[in-house]
């Protein structure tokens, strides 16, 4: 369900980036309050005219749909996973590529090769449960002169030196490579499950109006092995990833404050995707949804009333803002009662937009007894960037 995220993120990216450009000119500038939220609100009123909308279910075709969908305003490739090194040392990783079209249609004639109507943002994050370390980095680039882009066959999506690529369109195997100051990943992924269409045959509605929806598919399990590097230390790792793909032209409804999203890979072979759209009054929006994926790939959709996602405790970010410390997941129809607890409390990314995205450990019970697993949790809308927030990437401790 991550679709709601991208638009505000990009709006903020642009707002902040323009600010940066001006600020670069400024010496010894005092740190003023970040006006990101204001800029987000402003930019969200952006005109979707000229872009395609996700209005009705469509046939999905691969490998073409692994590639970009340029007619839509936003799109992302979202890799997350839990990897284990020697002695079961757990590492969570995230590598995400966001595409955002700023204007519909092709370039005007005679445009400079640097002229871009599409900008990209990428996030790389790595957590080390035993070492208590979390590092992240951010890259922004325009789609021009090969700085960033995506294509279906052979598959490749990249932002500068960070990339996900495959020798052909099948994503088997898939290579993830990214390096920043203090962290790096070099992983090979192989799908263990077929593509799963989320929502109604891949159309995931986010509100009552037509077009306020996205096309959304996932590959909930990809066998993963390779190497991660943290502060110059290399670890050979092996584990499992989750890929989320989504594209749309829509905006976050004004009454929504944020969302909580979970992707859980259970030991019994089932996978769960759940999200709760959070209203400003704290209640869950009726368009919250979930899906249970059987090992064979069969999907059972759950509506807002079919499951519960309850925050447990409170974690206060050292950079300001209160997040839930963990979540309790209840799916009565399946007899599932689970808890998703972060492997590290602080897995907050404070780039141009602040959000919490990190590895969780799953414990609980099902109808046949105790059940465990791995997963990833995403929490947004809990903290706007406070005054004086350090926004330097790759330095989050």
């Amino acid at each position: 369900m991550r679709r709601v995220r991208a638009w505000p993120i990009f709006a903020a990216v642009l707002a902040a980036a323009l600010g940066l450009a001006a600020l670069r000119l400024e010496r010894r500038a005092p740190l003023p309050p970040l006006a990101a939220s204001l800029a987000v609100a402003e930019a969200m009123a952006g005109d979707p005219a000229g872009f395609l909308r996700a209005e009705r279910p469509r046939p999905f075709a691969f490998p073409a749909d692994h590639g970009p969908h340029d007619g839509y305003r936003t799109e992302w490739w979202y890799f997350t996973g839990t990897l284990f090194g020697e002695g079961g040392r757990a590492f969570g990783y995230q590598l995400t590529f966001f595409r955002n079209a700023l204007a519909p249609g092709p370039h005007p004639a005679g445009a400079s090769a640097l002229r871009a109507r599409t900008v990209w943002m990428a996030h790389l994050a790595l957590s080390d449960e035993r070492g208590g370390r979390f590092r992240w980095a951010e890259r922004l680039a325009r789609e021009a002169i090969g700085l960033a882009g995506a294509r279906a066959e052979p598959f490749r999506v990249w932002v500068e030196g960070w990339e996900a690529s495959a020798p052909d369109g099948t994503l088997a195997p898939l290579a993830l490579r990214a390096r920043a100051e203090g962290l790096a990943i070099d992983l090979t992924l192989a799908p263990e499950r077929p593509v799963v269409l989320q929502g109604e045959a891949g159309l995931s509605a986010k509100g009552p109006e037509a077009g306020n929806a996205s096309y959304y598919y996932s590959i909930p399990r990809l066998a993963t092995r390779g190497e991660v590097t943290l502060d110059g230390e290399r670890f050979a790792v092996e584990g499992r990833s989750w890929l989320d793909r989504e594209w749309s032209t829509s905006a976050l409804a004004p009454e929504l404050e944020g969302w909580d999203w979970l992707a859980l890979q259970l030991d019994d072979g089932r996978d769960l995707m759940l999200y709760r759209l959070r209203r400003r009054d704290g209640s869950a929006d009726p368009f919250s949804a979930a899906a249970v994926i059987e090992p064979a790939g069969d999907v059972r959709r759950l509506a807002a009333g079919d499951f519960a996602l309850r925050p447990l405790g409170r974690w206060t970010s050292p950079r300001g803002g209160d997040y839930p410390a963990a979540f309790r997941v209840e799916v009565p129809s399946l007899g599932l009662e689970l808890e998703a607890r972060p492997r590290l409390a602080d897995q907050e990314l404070t780039g141009l937009v602040r959000y919490w995205e990190g590895a969780v450990r799953v414990t609980g019970r099902g109808p046949e007894g105790p059940i465990g697993g791995q997963g990833f949790l995403e929490m947004t809308g809990y903290a706007d960037a406070p005054p004086g927030a350090s926004r330097r990437p790759a330095q989050n401790r």
Partner: protein
């Protein structure tokens, strides 16, 4: 306050005109010094902001040769070389068709890559409207609200621009709101656009002005730099960001030193005025001092009293001068910036900085000069014997003794100054030291010369009685007139000297241009400023131009700037060597025949004179240049005259240039038309051979005129300073005549009582003014010539490396004479009328 001090202050209050003139003299002098100081500091700051601050935290930059760098290098640097903190910049300067003379900077950046360059993250600019427009819309621009208001545009409006000869417009999509003063200054006159927009506006697709980098300090940074250098294509270099402003500072040092020295002259004239006032008041009060001493007042107290008066005058004048200087400085900073822009091709934001240092310096100088000027008369007052009420005659006799003493001292100063100027040293301060010594030494000769000269004039039977009376009377009151004449002579001499120097300079430049501009038509890309750093003609155009009918020969000019390690940037020219180009050069050193042979063979370089003098190179020496294949040492075959740049150039034959720098681009071409060709028609044909607006075709006449216009603009500030010194000197004449009025009231009243008419008395006073003016003017002429020679042969050569011949044109001399006499007459008019209008009886009753 002691009784003595109060007596002193009362003295000042009793002669308000004298006091006011002295205060005004100090005020103007201090104002000029402070104004120049402020303007200079502001200009330096402006250039610093424009170079360093716009680079933000950038530590280094990747630069290309003449045509910038290929944009694909950005991807290589960021992805393959893995440098995260690397951002593209396309920088251009545009003029506004609606506001002649206003230059704005067009800064093209990639907002997505800016993060490492800002000191902190904050949207100082909260762009209104749709943010995506900035990136996607051709011509979308942001500018500071203040600048928008000045230019009369609001978000949504189009702003017409001119880059070279091309006209275009940008659209304001939002406003930048600076948060503090530093950012406001940086944002002033800045159009922030996307890097793609900048490329499109500049019509330079695929090119970047530079790539800015933030490299870590110490060993990791050095290693990264080494890696980077080894992978950059030929002709592309990495330099420290700070080097840019450092070298500008170094380049402009001589210019700025000259400016300050001229400003000091104005203050020196102010000092003369104080000296005059103090001397006058001391001379007139000698009886009082005598009585005071008889009453038991000590010498020290008399000394303190006179100095306290001067201090009060100096303080009041300095304070007024500060205020005046701030106002004046605001005006001057524009002139200073313009000159530096013209001379050094640097762009600066417009800024005025009220540096407390400058104000303090001005205050200290004003007060210091006042005290120093009052010291001799104060010592004189303190030396008055207790009972003395010296007769006027004895007093003036003393004054003559003083004049002789001054002449002796002046002679020593003259000799010392001459020695300093002739000393073989490259030091500029030493040259100015010599210049000032010469000035004052000469000025000290004047009282004696004046006495002798006027004495002789008074005996000339051919002169009308009034004139002779005036001459005799002036000679008799040397204590008042001598110093005033000296001050005026000094100011006029400086004016003559500067006039002659500029005239000689201009003549040399005209000669040089005539010899250098041998082609009929000159074709270059439209320039951005007076001269742009990066120029390139499209190769297809050059071929088409060569093929045009009526063209006999084409000379191509290639140029780039290379940066040898640990030295200032060097501009290198590559030219076609043939008979016509040889004729365009005048050698200062080296044998032309041999030199051209070596240059044509690609075995040596020629250096322009400023280059050779700055780096102390002569024929036979070797010059190391970083080339596409490492550093190459080339022998210097000759040195030629060139007034085009005070940094100078190294010149080589085109084949060697192409071989060394692996760069084929041609910056400009000179066309030689076949005899009988219609040049206007040819110019239009050349223009048609290029894309519209891509080239600027100029006849050699137009180029000459443009060059001279820039030359004249460069010296505008010198002209302003010259006028200000003169203003101070005029105050001196006014003060001297007012003093005479005050003191000789009785004498003139007696004349009236004896039957002289008001008109006759008026004529007498005016004649005295005329004598003073004429004397000052005449004395100023040789000094002016001397100064001009010192500036032409010593100061200019040491400052800029330009050598030239002194041209003694008659114009400045006549101007100076007319100026001096006219000014003195104007200054005499008021006292003359007042004296003539005064009642006779009260004056006589005073005694």
């Amino acid at each position: 306050m002691s009784l003595i001090a109060r007596a002193g202050l009362r003295e000042l209050a009793r002669h308000p005109v004298q006091t006011a003139l002295a205060v005004a003299g100090v005020a103007v002098g201090v104002a000029v010094v402070v104004a120049v100081d402020l303007a200079d500091e502001s200009a330096r700051r402006a250039f610093r902001i424009s170079t360093e601050a716009t680079a933000g935290r950038a530590t280094h930059q990747i630069q290309g040769g003449s045509a910038g760098i290929d944009e694909r290098l950005l991807a290589a640097v960021r992805i393959e070389m893995g440098l995260e903190a690397a951002a593209p910049v396309v920088e251009e300067y545009a003029t506004l068709p609606d506001q002649p003379g206003r230059v704005v900077r067009l800064l093209g950046v990639d907002p997505l890559l800016e993060a490492p360059f800002r000191p902190s993250l904050a949207p100082a600019a909260r762009a209104s409207g749709e943010l995506g427009r900035f990136l996607t819309e051709p011509g979308a621009a942001l500018l500071a609200g203040e600048t928008a208001a000045e230019l009369g545009v609001a978000p949504g409006d189009a702003l017409p621009l001119r880059l070279g000869v091309r006209e275009m417009q940008v659209r304001v999509v939002g406003l930048l709101e600076p948060r503090d003063r530093a950012s406001r200054e940086v944002l002033a006159s800045l159009l922030l656009v996307d890097v793609a927009t900048a490329q499109e506006l500049a019509a330079s697709p695929g090119r970047l002005s530079r790539i800015e980098l933030v490299l870590p300090e110490g060993t990791p940074g050095e290693a990264a730099l080494e890696r980077l250098r080894s992978r950059l294509p030929a002709g592309v270099t990495v330099t420290r960001t700070a080097a840019r402003s450092e070298s500008l500072d170094q380049m402009t040092r001589a210019f700025r030193f000259n400016l300050r020295a001229l400003a000091l002259l104005a203050l020196a004239c102010g000092g003369f005025l104080i000296f005059n006032t103090a001397t006058f008041s001391v001379v007139r009060r000698r009886p009082l001092f005598g009585r005071l001493r008889a009453l038991g007042v000590r010498r020290r107290e008399v000394l303190a009293m006179v100095l306290a008066e001067s201090l009060a005058v100096g303080l009041a004048g300095s304070l007024a001068g500060l205020a005046l200087g701030v106002l004046l400085g605001r005006g001057l900073v524009g002139l200073v910036l313009q000159t530096i822009q013209d001379l050094y091709f640097a762009f600066a934001v417009r800024s005025f900085d009220l540096a407390p240092d400058s104000l303090l310096r001005g205050l200290a100088l004003g007060v210091g000069v006042s005290l120093a000027a009052a010291l001799p008369p104060a010592l004189e007052a303190a030396s008055a014997p207790p009972r003395a009420t010296l007769s006027r005659a004895a007093l003036e006799a003393g004054s003559r003794r003083g004049a002789r003493l001054a002449a002796g001292l002046g002679g020593a100063l003259l000799a010392g100054g001459g020695a300093l100027l002739l000393a073989p040293s490259p030091s500029l301060p030493l040259a100015f030291g010599g210049l000032f010594a010469l000035l004052f030494g000469y000025a000290l000769q004047l009282p004696l010369a004046l006495a002798l000269g006027l004495g002789r004039a008074a005996r000339l039977p051919a002169l009308p009685v009034t004139a002779r009376m005036a001459a005799r009377s002036l000679a008799a009151s040397l204590s008042r007139s001598g110093v005033a004449v000296s001050a005026l002579a000094l100011a006029v001499a400086v004016s003559v000297g500067i006039g002659l120097m500029i005239g000689s300079f201009r003549g040399a430049v005209v000669d040089w241009l005539r010899q250098t501009l041998v082609g009929d038509l000159y074709v270059a890309p439209p320039t951005r400023l007076a001269t742009a750093a990066n120029l390139a003609l499209e190769p297809g155009f050059v071929a088409r131009a060569r093929a045009l009918p009526g063209i006999e020969r084409v000379h191509a000019l290639r140029t780039l700037v290379v940066e040898p390690a640990g030295s200032l940037p060097v501009r290198v020219l590559g030219i076609d060597v043939d008979e016509a180009s040889r004729a365009a050069f005048r050698f200062r050193a080296g044998d032309p025949e041999d030199a051209w042979r070596a240059v044509a063979a690609g075995e040596a370089v020629l250096l322009s004179e400023p280059f050779a003098s700055r780096r102390a190179l002569a024929p036979g020496d070797r010059l190391g240049l970083p080339t596409a294949r490492g550093v190459r040492e080339l022998p210097v075959a000759g040195v030629y005259a060139d007034y085009g740049s005070d940094q100078g150039v190294a010149l080589m034959a085109a084949p060697l240039f192409v071989e060394l720098f692996e760069q084929e681009t041609i910056a400009a071409i000179a066309l030689f038309a076949a005899p009988g060709t219609d040049l206007d028609r040819l110019a239009r044909a050349v223009e048609r051979a290029a894309a519209p607006g891509e080239v600027l075709v100029q006849s050699n006449r137009a180029l000459l005129e443009e060059s001279l216009a820039i030359f004249d603009r460069t010296f505008r500030i010198t002209g302003v300073l010259r006028l200000l010194s003169l203003a101070v000197a005029l105050l001196g004449i006014l003060a001297a005549l007012a003093a005479i009025e005050l003191e000789r009231g009785r004498e003139l009243a007696t004349l009236r009582a004896l039957g002289a008419s008001r008109a006759q008395v008026r004529r007498l006073v005016i004649a005295e003014g005329a004598w003073m003016g004429a004397a000052a003017g005449l004395f100023a002429l040789p000094l002016g010539a001397l100064l001009a020679a010192a500036m032409v042969y010593v100061v200019n050569r040491r400052s800029f490396g330009w050598s030239m011949e002194l041209a003694l044109a008659a114009g400045p001399f006549f101007e100076a004479l007319a100026l001096a006499v006219g000014a003195a007459l104007a200054a005499a008019a008021l006292p003359a009328m007042r004296i003539a209008a005064a009642d006779v009886v009260p004056r006589l009753e005073e005694e």
